[in-house]
Protein backbone atom coordinates (compact mmCIF):
# COMPACT_ATOMS: atom_id res chain seq x y z
CA UNK A 1 0.00 0.00 0.00
CA UNK A 2 1.24 3.46 -0.84
CA UNK A 3 0.11 6.61 0.93
CA UNK A 4 -1.34 9.19 -1.41
CA UNK A 5 0.75 12.31 -1.22
CA UNK A 6 1.50 15.64 -2.78
CA UNK A 7 4.68 17.69 -2.78
CA UNK A 8 5.74 21.04 -4.16
CA UNK A 9 8.71 23.36 -3.76
CA UNK A 10 8.39 27.05 -4.60
CA UNK A 11 10.72 30.01 -4.50
CA UNK A 12 10.30 32.38 -1.56
CA UNK A 13 8.31 34.98 -3.51
CA UNK A 14 4.78 36.04 -2.64
CA UNK A 15 4.02 36.14 -6.37
CA UNK A 16 4.38 32.33 -6.40
CA UNK A 17 1.79 31.72 -3.70
CA UNK A 18 -0.92 31.06 -6.27
CA UNK A 19 1.09 28.06 -7.54
CA UNK A 20 0.74 26.45 -4.11
CA UNK A 21 -2.94 27.30 -3.82
CA UNK A 22 -3.78 25.98 -7.27
CA UNK A 23 -1.81 22.75 -6.78
CA UNK A 24 -3.27 22.11 -3.31
CA UNK A 25 -6.78 22.82 -4.55
CA UNK A 26 -6.35 20.47 -7.51
CA UNK A 27 -4.95 17.71 -5.32
CA UNK A 28 -7.60 18.05 -2.62
CA UNK A 29 -10.37 18.13 -5.21
CA UNK A 30 -9.51 14.51 -6.00
CA UNK A 31 -10.21 13.55 -2.40
CA UNK A 32 -13.66 13.11 -0.91
CA UNK A 33 -13.59 16.48 0.80
CA UNK A 34 -16.24 19.17 0.65
CA UNK A 35 -15.53 22.70 -0.59
CA UNK A 36 -15.34 24.06 2.96
CA UNK A 37 -12.65 21.51 3.91
CA UNK A 38 -10.68 22.14 0.73
CA UNK A 39 -10.88 25.90 1.32
CA UNK A 40 -9.62 25.45 4.89
CA UNK A 41 -6.68 23.27 3.84
CA UNK A 42 -5.74 25.65 1.01
CA UNK A 43 -6.00 28.60 3.39
CA UNK A 44 -3.82 27.01 6.10
CA UNK A 45 -1.13 25.97 3.63
CA UNK A 46 -1.16 29.45 2.09
CA UNK A 47 -0.82 31.04 5.55
CA UNK A 48 2.08 28.73 6.45
CA UNK A 49 3.92 29.39 3.18
CA UNK A 50 3.39 33.17 3.46
CA UNK A 51 4.71 32.94 7.01
CA UNK A 52 7.88 31.22 5.76
CA UNK A 53 8.38 33.76 2.97
CA UNK A 54 7.72 36.85 5.10
CA UNK A 55 9.16 35.87 8.47
CA UNK A 56 11.66 33.04 7.91
CA UNK A 57 13.15 34.55 4.75
CA UNK A 58 12.27 38.22 5.31
CA UNK A 59 10.65 38.48 1.86
CA UNK A 60 13.94 37.59 0.18
CA UNK A 61 13.52 35.58 -3.04
CA UNK A 62 15.91 32.77 -3.94
CA UNK A 63 15.07 30.44 -1.07
CA UNK A 64 12.90 27.35 -1.06
CA UNK A 65 9.63 26.66 0.71
CA UNK A 66 8.56 23.04 0.57
CA UNK A 67 5.01 21.78 1.00
CA UNK A 68 4.18 18.13 1.59
CA UNK A 69 0.70 16.72 2.08
CA UNK A 70 0.11 13.07 2.96
CA UNK A 71 -3.31 11.46 3.03
CA UNK A 72 -4.03 8.86 5.69
CA UNK A 73 -7.38 7.12 6.15
CA UNK A 74 -8.40 9.33 9.07
CA UNK A 75 -6.34 12.48 8.66
CA UNK A 76 -4.21 14.68 6.42
CA UNK A 77 -0.67 15.47 7.50
CA UNK A 78 0.71 18.69 6.04
CA UNK A 79 4.30 19.81 6.41
CA UNK A 80 5.62 23.23 5.39
CA UNK A 81 9.39 23.40 5.46
CA UNK A 82 11.83 26.31 5.22
CA UNK A 83 15.47 26.94 6.07
CA UNK A 84 15.10 30.52 7.27
CA UNK A 85 14.81 32.13 10.68
CA UNK A 86 13.00 29.94 13.19
CA UNK A 87 9.77 30.98 14.85
CA UNK A 88 9.93 31.79 18.52
CA UNK A 89 8.50 28.96 20.66
CA UNK A 90 6.06 31.46 22.11
CA UNK A 91 4.57 32.42 18.76
CA UNK A 92 2.50 29.26 18.40
CA UNK A 93 1.16 29.73 21.91
CA UNK A 94 0.18 33.33 21.27
CA UNK A 95 -2.07 32.74 18.30
CA UNK A 96 -5.03 34.30 20.03
CA UNK A 97 -3.27 37.58 20.76
CA UNK A 98 -5.00 39.59 17.99
CA UNK A 99 -8.39 38.87 19.58
CA UNK A 100 -9.04 42.44 20.67
CA UNK A 101 -12.19 43.90 22.08
CA UNK A 102 -13.19 46.35 19.40
CA UNK A 103 -15.68 48.09 21.62
CA UNK A 104 -12.99 49.22 24.03
CA UNK A 105 -10.09 49.84 21.66
CA UNK A 106 -11.87 51.13 18.56
CA UNK A 107 -10.91 50.09 15.05
CA UNK A 108 -7.60 51.94 15.42
CA UNK A 109 -6.44 49.36 17.94
CA UNK A 110 -7.09 46.38 15.67
CA UNK A 111 -3.82 44.85 14.43
CA UNK A 112 -3.46 44.50 10.66
CA UNK A 113 -1.18 41.45 10.87
CA UNK A 114 -0.66 38.33 12.95
CA UNK A 115 -3.76 36.30 12.13
CA UNK A 116 -2.15 33.57 10.01
CA UNK A 117 -1.31 31.23 12.87
CA UNK A 118 -4.65 31.97 14.50
CA UNK A 119 -6.42 30.81 11.34
CA UNK A 120 -4.27 27.67 11.19
CA UNK A 121 -4.95 26.86 14.84
CA UNK A 122 -8.67 27.42 14.26
CA UNK A 123 -8.96 25.12 11.25
CA UNK A 124 -6.43 22.38 11.98
CA UNK A 125 -6.86 19.71 14.63
CA UNK A 126 -3.22 19.72 15.66
CA UNK A 127 -0.32 22.07 14.94
CA UNK A 128 3.32 21.64 15.88
CA UNK A 129 6.60 23.23 14.93
CA UNK A 130 10.19 22.11 15.18
CA UNK A 131 13.63 23.04 13.94
CA UNK A 132 16.07 20.30 12.98
CA UNK A 133 19.24 20.34 10.87
CA UNK A 134 18.67 24.04 10.03
CA UNK A 135 15.18 23.30 8.69
CA UNK A 136 11.97 24.62 10.23
CA UNK A 137 8.89 22.46 9.88
CA UNK A 138 5.30 23.43 10.60
CA UNK A 139 3.23 20.27 10.89
CA UNK A 140 -0.53 20.52 10.55
CA UNK A 141 -2.96 17.65 11.09
CA UNK A 142 -6.52 17.75 9.79
CA UNK A 143 -8.84 14.96 10.79
CA UNK A 144 -11.07 13.86 7.96
CA UNK A 145 -13.70 11.26 7.25
CA UNK A 146 -13.12 9.49 4.01
CA UNK A 147 -16.17 7.74 2.63
CA UNK A 148 -14.28 5.91 -0.07
CA UNK A 149 -10.97 4.16 -0.53
CA UNK A 150 -8.12 6.58 -1.07
CA UNK A 151 -5.11 4.43 -0.26
CA UNK A 152 -3.72 3.09 -3.52
Amino acid sequence: MKTKKFGLIIDSRLEDIHKVSTAVNNFCSQLPLNSEEIFGIELCITEAVVNSIKHAYGNTPGNHVEVELKVYPEYLRIKVLDKGLSMSPLQLEEVCEPFVEVESDGVGGVPTTGRGLMIIANIMDDVSYYTKDESNALIMIKNIRLDREIIT
Binding site: E15, L43, G108, V110, P111, G116
Partner: protein, 115 residues
Protein backbone atom coordinates in the same frame (compact mmCIF):
# COMPACT_ATOMS: atom_id res chain seq x y z
CA UNK B 1 -7.00 40.25 -8.50
CA UNK B 2 -9.32 42.13 -10.81
CA UNK B 3 -10.96 45.27 -9.39
CA UNK B 4 -13.96 47.13 -10.81
CA UNK B 5 -15.39 50.34 -9.42
CA UNK B 6 -18.60 52.26 -9.91
CA UNK B 7 -20.32 55.13 -8.16
CA UNK B 8 -23.86 54.88 -6.81
CA UNK B 9 -24.83 58.35 -5.63
CA UNK B 10 -22.27 59.20 -2.91
CA UNK B 11 -21.05 55.64 -2.41
CA UNK B 12 -18.11 54.16 -4.30
CA UNK B 13 -18.70 50.49 -4.95
CA UNK B 14 -15.51 48.44 -5.30
CA UNK B 15 -16.03 44.97 -6.73
CA UNK B 16 -13.21 42.50 -6.17
CA UNK B 17 -12.65 39.28 -8.10
CA UNK B 18 -10.85 35.95 -7.55
CA UNK B 19 -8.37 36.15 -4.67
CA UNK B 20 -7.53 38.72 -1.99
CA UNK B 21 -4.22 37.43 -0.71
CA UNK B 22 -0.63 38.31 0.12
CA UNK B 23 0.38 38.63 -3.52
CA UNK B 24 -2.56 40.69 -4.72
CA UNK B 25 -3.72 42.90 -1.89
CA UNK B 26 -1.20 45.73 -2.29
CA UNK B 27 -2.99 46.84 -5.47
CA UNK B 28 -6.19 47.16 -3.48
CA UNK B 29 -4.49 49.20 -0.76
CA UNK B 30 -3.06 51.64 -3.31
CA UNK B 31 -6.36 51.96 -5.12
CA UNK B 32 -8.33 52.66 -1.93
CA UNK B 33 -5.74 55.24 -0.86
CA UNK B 34 -6.19 56.92 -4.25
CA UNK B 35 -9.94 57.08 -3.67
CA UNK B 36 -9.43 58.59 -0.20
CA UNK B 37 -7.11 61.19 -1.74
CA UNK B 38 -10.00 62.12 -4.07
CA UNK B 39 -12.27 62.39 -1.02
CA UNK B 40 -14.22 59.26 -1.95
CA UNK B 41 -14.65 58.03 1.61
CA UNK B 42 -17.93 56.12 1.51
CA UNK B 43 -16.91 52.72 0.22
CA UNK B 44 -18.78 49.51 -0.32
CA UNK B 45 -16.53 46.54 -1.06
CA UNK B 46 -18.39 43.75 -2.80
CA UNK B 47 -16.85 40.30 -2.29
CA UNK B 48 -19.42 38.27 -4.21
CA UNK B 49 -16.83 37.11 -6.76
CA UNK B 50 -14.00 36.55 -4.32
CA UNK B 51 -13.39 32.84 -3.76
CA UNK B 52 -10.37 33.13 -1.48
CA UNK B 53 -9.08 35.51 1.17
CA UNK B 54 -6.17 34.99 3.54
CA UNK B 55 -4.94 36.88 6.61
CA UNK B 56 -2.86 39.22 4.43
CA UNK B 57 -5.95 40.13 2.39
CA UNK B 58 -7.89 40.62 5.58
CA UNK B 59 -5.07 42.81 6.92
CA UNK B 60 -5.30 44.96 3.81
CA UNK B 61 -9.03 45.44 4.32
CA UNK B 62 -8.37 46.44 7.95
CA UNK B 63 -5.75 48.96 6.80
CA UNK B 64 -8.28 50.39 4.32
CA UNK B 65 -10.97 50.54 7.01
CA UNK B 66 -8.64 52.46 9.33
CA UNK B 67 -7.70 54.92 6.58
CA UNK B 68 -11.35 55.47 5.61
CA UNK B 69 -12.40 55.98 9.23
CA UNK B 70 -9.55 58.44 9.75
CA UNK B 71 -10.80 60.37 6.71
CA UNK B 72 -14.28 60.50 8.25
CA UNK B 73 -15.86 57.95 5.95
CA UNK B 74 -17.31 54.46 6.10
CA UNK B 75 -16.20 51.15 4.60
CA UNK B 76 -18.69 48.31 4.43
CA UNK B 77 -18.54 44.78 3.07
CA UNK B 78 -21.19 43.04 1.00
CA UNK B 79 -21.93 39.51 -0.19
CA UNK B 80 -18.96 37.45 0.94
CA UNK B 81 -19.38 33.75 0.09
CA UNK B 82 -19.60 31.38 3.05
CA UNK B 83 -15.91 30.39 2.92
CA UNK B 84 -14.73 34.01 2.79
CA UNK B 85 -17.20 35.01 5.52
CA UNK B 86 -15.81 32.20 7.70
CA UNK B 87 -12.38 33.90 7.65
CA UNK B 88 -13.95 37.11 9.00
CA UNK B 89 -15.76 35.07 11.64
CA UNK B 90 -12.85 32.93 12.88
CA UNK B 91 -10.63 36.00 13.25
CA UNK B 92 -13.51 37.94 14.85
CA UNK B 93 -13.29 40.58 12.14
CA UNK B 94 -17.04 40.19 11.72
CA UNK B 95 -17.13 42.44 14.80
CA UNK B 96 -14.93 45.05 13.12
CA UNK B 97 -16.57 45.24 9.70
CA UNK B 98 -20.19 45.89 8.85
CA UNK B 99 -21.03 42.95 6.59
CA UNK B 100 -24.22 42.80 4.51
CA UNK B 101 -25.91 40.07 2.49
CA UNK B 102 -26.75 42.42 -0.38
CA UNK B 103 -25.49 45.62 -1.99
CA UNK B 104 -28.93 47.15 -1.50
CA UNK B 105 -28.87 46.63 2.26
CA UNK B 106 -25.31 47.93 2.47
CA UNK B 107 -26.09 51.03 0.39
CA UNK B 108 -29.15 51.75 2.51
CA UNK B 109 -27.01 51.64 5.65
CA UNK B 110 -24.98 54.63 4.47
CA UNK B 111 -28.06 56.73 5.19
CA UNK B 112 -30.17 59.15 3.14
CA UNK B 113 -27.33 61.62 2.66
CA UNK B 114 -25.32 59.08 0.69
CA UNK B 115 -28.28 57.71 -1.29
Amino acid sequence: MKIETKKINEVSVVELFDRVDASSSNNLKEMIQGMIDKNEVNLLINLENVSFIDSSGLGTLITCLKSINKAGGHLKIAQPCSNVKSVFDMTRMDRVFEIFDSDEAALKSFGPEAN
